[in-house]
């Protein structure tokens, strides 16, 4: 079974090194807990320069997603994971396109539109 899997690629979620390895989940927890704590700390503290907080939160969130992918879902860039990794890359690409594309278009639209208050005043 193992040799078959090596020849034909690997399903996502299967640990490459050891099928019975609980350590991977514990390492993941060890990374994820401080990252979660740091996110909540960054959102409440006045220690960090306020306009930089959203960037810090984004960095922490992306790092934690990476930890979950690597240690819980066991996604890696190993040769037997090419299919899984390519699918993930496409998913991330589409997600980024939808989220940032929508935000950019809508902010430009808001910028070009007259504000609702002014519009109401003109109708009177």
């Amino acid at each position: 079974m193992d040799r078959q899997v090596l020849a034909q690629g690997r399903a996502p979620g299967v640990d490459a090194r050891d099928q019975h390895n609980a350590r991977s989940y514990l390492i993941g927890l060890l990374y994820a807990l401080p990252l979660t704590g740091a996110s909540f700390w960054a959102a409440t503290t006045s220690f960090v320069y306020a306009p930089a907080v959203p960037v810090l939160l984004a960095v922490l969130a992306i790092a934690q997603m990476g930890v979950h992918l690597a240690f819980f879902l066991h996604i890696s860039s190993a040769p037997d994971q090419t299919n899984n990794f390519l699918a993930l890359a496409f998913g991330v690409f589409v997600t980024g396109l939808i989220v940032f594309g929508s935000m950019m278009i809508m902010s430009h639209l808001n910028h070009n539109m007259m504000s609702m208050d002014q519009l109401m005043r003109m109708q009177r």
Binding site: M1, R3, Q4, V5, L6, A7, Q8, G9, R10, A11, P12, G13, V14, Q19, H20, N21, A22, S24, Y25, L26, G28, L29, A32, L33, T36, S39, F40, A42, A43, T44, P54, L57, A58, L60, A61, Q64, M65, H68, L69, F72, L73, N83, N84, A87, L88, F90, G91, V94, T95, I98, V99, G101, S102, M103, M106
Partner: protein
């Protein structure tokens, strides 16, 4: 090792294109992985809607006034812990160790149910305070996004119960193992979506 398995070995000298289809477990896992990615794209659309509408409060309560960060922190810890216990449960399924499986998956179920209870209490509190989904575009987007995640968790719990029943009735057959495996992927993916939810919705609240 049989002749067929020999032919599948990486050093067999047979080109990849002539080795035949991949094992069911790999195909099923990859198919479910594609479904999960499409589900994440669904969430991407909801995140985009929320990001665009989060300022449109129509004179109602804003995100910063509504959300209690301690409450969200408890929810986050529940889901993170349940992801780890689900991992231990998956390992128990691979070992076909029924007792360890019931123990870890039972804890996973309890943590998931605790998460849902906390979220349900938050929603009920908001609706009774007059901040229901019909109040503003911001609240509509909030209830859609967080509610869809909650719905996924609910479905995950139902799936987990069904899987526990299947292990009880069918035992650790290969197909039960594959379904349990897909459940594990689903549960971990929900935790990844929740990272986006607590960062963008709760911590990013202005």
């Amino acid at each position: 090792m049989s002749a067929a398995e020999n032919a599948l070995a990486p050093d067999s000298g047979i080109p990849l294109s002539l080795r035949g289809p991949a094992p069911v477990r790999v195909v099923a896992g990859f198919g479910f992985w594609l479904f999960l990615l499409s589900d994440i794209i669904l969430f991407a659309a909801l995140f985009a809607a929320y990001s665009v509408l989060s300022g449109s409060t129509a004179g109602g309560p804003t995100a910063a006034e509504l959300f209690d960060k301690k409450h969200v922190f408890a929810e986050t810890l529940c889901l993170l812990a349940s992801s780890v216990t689900c991992g231990f449960g998956s390992l128990a399924v691979q070992r076909t160790d029924a007792r360890a499986m019931y123990f870890w998956m039972g804890i996973t179920f309890l943590l998931g149910a605790t998460f849902l209870t906390l979220e349900g209490r938050e929603f009920a509190g908001m609706v009774s305070a007059g901040a229901g989904p019909s109040h503003s575009a911001f609240l509509s987007a909030f209830f859609t996004l967080v509610g869809t995640h909650g719905l996924h968790v609910t479905l995950g719990l139902v799936w987990l119960l069904i899987m526990l029943l299947q292990v009880t009735t069918l035992g650790f057959q290969p197909m039960v193992g594959r379904r349990f495996f897909a459940f594990g992927l689903f549960w971990h993916a929900l935790d990844i979506v929740w990272i986006g939810v607590f960062t963008i919705v709760y911590l990013g609240a202005k």
